[in-house]
């Protein structure tokens, strides 16, 4: 039984003239108005720009033309995606008030598909965090329990979809920043193969790991959004110049004949209720005709350590550009070097400073071989380990995060403990592979659990097929009830 596809249905209703894009937008703006005081999913709601986009979609339909696959569907954008003339902050003081002079490629593609962009979502500062608590503008709260974090770093985008503020959202995933918040908020989130979605206009964190991807209520809607934003872009030199998997058409093909490997390393350290749900999801694949077996990829146990050497290394280099010269914050001082230091010291929050210093340290003379270069060798071993597993299995399955959503403030004092919440998502980024998180019931605390389906490079079609089967077998998840809308 195929899960409903609310975004697809919405777009079809607008394309056929059955509903107006403006009316759809106003419904969502009202939901944001009523509930976002409590959730704080958005840094900025762009109501005027959205109304102009929705009206343009309605005019296109009235003229007998097709506005596109996402006609009139409201989409929320993570606030590290550049929007021309609209502030883009990365939830950092250092970019507060900056309006980019260009649109990210994904923003252009959404516009061309008739989507209506409703606002910029909160995130961990420069995407560095796993709870959206490192935002300079205050945390986002989990719509299922507002005393809990939404995960991160794309916590605002995940919460926006979970709360019904927007049916679709975009995030970025460097070490799990789409999948982990999707799991904690009970929505679908996918990190595509590195290079399938253009990074042009995505503010860089760790360039060899960053990838933009979709959030949606269902697997089918995530596939639709991926089809719209994917494809080669000459403006991103790391964009893959080969056919991007078109996934919508294969979504309902089922899993008969596929081999699903339950990744044992991801079960180590996961809470018992999370492990139980993972086994239940594996059973669902078996019931649908897949061969299910347990498989070990011992190399992934080193993923977390390698990631926290590689990603800060790349970040320390990428964030050197925030010098107070060309855009964003400048704190005046008597000479340029002092101005650079004053600007960076006041503009960056503690987690960003930690990662810049860690990265600078592991790249510095005397330590580079022991730390950074060694981590790059581990990266090779992880890729080789996955390659062996994918000779036996078509996809791997495991939890997305070892726990359900944790209370606000529970991990902010201890960076290493916070980093450990990414342990199941990081290996995929190091390998450049795709993976998707699908909601699968709740834990003992009543909070959402996400199941992750991983595959080799460019296997989006396959992981989505498996995700659709997992989704169809998932226990019901009650929609969040916010006080402002009860």
């Amino acid at each position: 039984m195929t899960a409903p596809r609310p975004s697809t249905a919405l777009a079809n209703a607008v394309r056929s003239g059955a509903r107006s894009a403006l009316e759809v937008l106003e419904e969502h703006l009202s939901a944001i108005e009523a509930g976002d005081g409590e959730v704080h999913a958005f840094n900025l709601v762009t109501a005027d720009e959205a109304r102009a986009q929705a009206s343009a979609v309605d005019r296109t339909v009235a003229a007998g033309d097709d506005p596109g696959l996402l006609a009139g569907v409201p989409v929320a954008l993570k606030d590290n995606l550049c929007t021309r003339g609209v502030p883009t902050t990365c939830s950092s003081r250092i970019l507060e008030g900056w309006s980019p002079p260009y649109d990210a490629t994904v923003v252009t593609r959404l516009r061309n598909a008739g989507a209506v962009m409703v606002g910029k979502t909160n995130m961990d500062e420069f995407a560095m965090g796993s709870s959206t608590e490192t935002s300079a503008f205050g945390p986002t709260r989990n719509p299922h329990d507002t005393s809990r974090v939404p995960g991160g770093s794309s916590g605002g985008s995940a919460a926006a979809v979970a709360a019904g503020f927007a049916p679709l959202a975009l995030g970025s995933d460097t070490g799990g920043s789409i999948r982990q918040p999707a799991a904690l908020c009970g929505v679908v989130g996918m990190k595509p193969t590195y290079g399938t979605v253009s990074r042009f206009g995505l503010v860089a964190f760790a360039s060899s790991l960053d990838q933009i991807g979709p959030f949606a209520a269902t697997v089918g809607d995530a596939a639709l959004l991926f089809d719209v934003i994917g494809g080669h872009d000459p403006a991103d030199s790391t964009s893959l110049n080969r056919p991007t998997p078109r996934v919508l058409s294969v979504l309902d093909d089922g899993v008969a004949g596929l081999t699903v490997g339950v990744l044992t390393e991801f079960l180590v350290g996961a809470d018992p209720d999370v492990v139980a749900r993972t086994r239940q999801a594996a059973d669902a694949c078996a019931n649908a005709g897949a061969r299910v077996e347990e498989i070990s990829v011992p190399e992934v146990a080193y993923g977390l350590s390698a990631y926290y050497l590689i990603a800060p290394g790349e970040a320390s280099s990428n964030l050197a550009r925030y010098d107070g010269v060309r855009y964003g914050l400048r704190v005046d001082a008597e000479d340029t070097a002092a101005m650079n230091t004053a600007t960076r010291s006041q503009g960056f929050g503690a987690e960003v400073k930690r990662r810049i210093m860690l990265g600078t340290y592991v790249l510095s003379a005397g330590y580079m071989d022991a730390y950074y270069n060694q981590a790059l060798r581990v990266r090779t071993k992880i890729i080789e380990g996955f390659a062996v597993a994918y000779q036996r299995c078509d996809v791997l399955l495991g939890p997305t995060a070892p726990t359900t959503a944790f209370p606000l403030g529970a991990k902010t004092g201890d960076p290493l403990t916070m980093y450990l919440s990414d342990v199941c998502t990081i290996p995929t980024n190091l390998a450049g592979h795709p993976a998707i998180s699908v909601p699968f019931g709740t834990g003992d605390d009543g909070l959402p659990i996400g199941i992750q389906v991983l595959g080799p490079a460019l296997s989006e079609g396959t992981i989505l097929k498996v995700a659709a089967v997992v989704e169809a077998a998932a226990p019901d998840l009650a929609p969040p009830v916010l006080a402002g809308r009860s």
């Binding site: 050497l309 855009y327 340029t336 230091t341 010291s345 730390y371 581990v378 960076p415």
Partner: protein, 102 residues
């Protein structure tokens, strides 16, 4: 592979200086402990024997990405400069770099 020595407060002060960050004494103390903890965790990687394993800087490596040498539209100068903290004569303006002119 020999394990590097434990991170010290002086190391953090030096690195902060390289990264153009000014830290308070309290920040130095806090970050030294936190970063040492992360590096201790990374010791499992630092101690692996991976001699002969080639490093991977990029999982989906692409090489020699070229485009035709043609003039295409670029960013609008006024729109770009409008975002700058200080501008003079169509250029970014910064405080002195090498001190006063002789």
């Amino acid at each position: 592979m020999t394990e590097p020595q434990r991170l010290t407060r002086d190391d953090v002060a030096h690195v902060a200086d390289l990264a153009r960050l000014e830290l308070t004494d309290e920040e130095l103390d806090l970050f030294t402990g936190q970063l040492a903890q992360v590096l201790d965790h990374a010791a499992d990687v630092a101690s692996l024997d991976l001699a002969g394993v080639k490093p991977t800087a990029h999982a989906m490596a692409v090489t020699n990405v070229l485009r035709p040498d043609e003039i295409t539209p670029c960013l609008d100068r006024d729109e770009v400069l409008a975002q700058a903290p200080a501008v003079e004569d169509h250029r970014f303006r910064v405080p002195s770099i090498l001190g006063e002119a002789p």
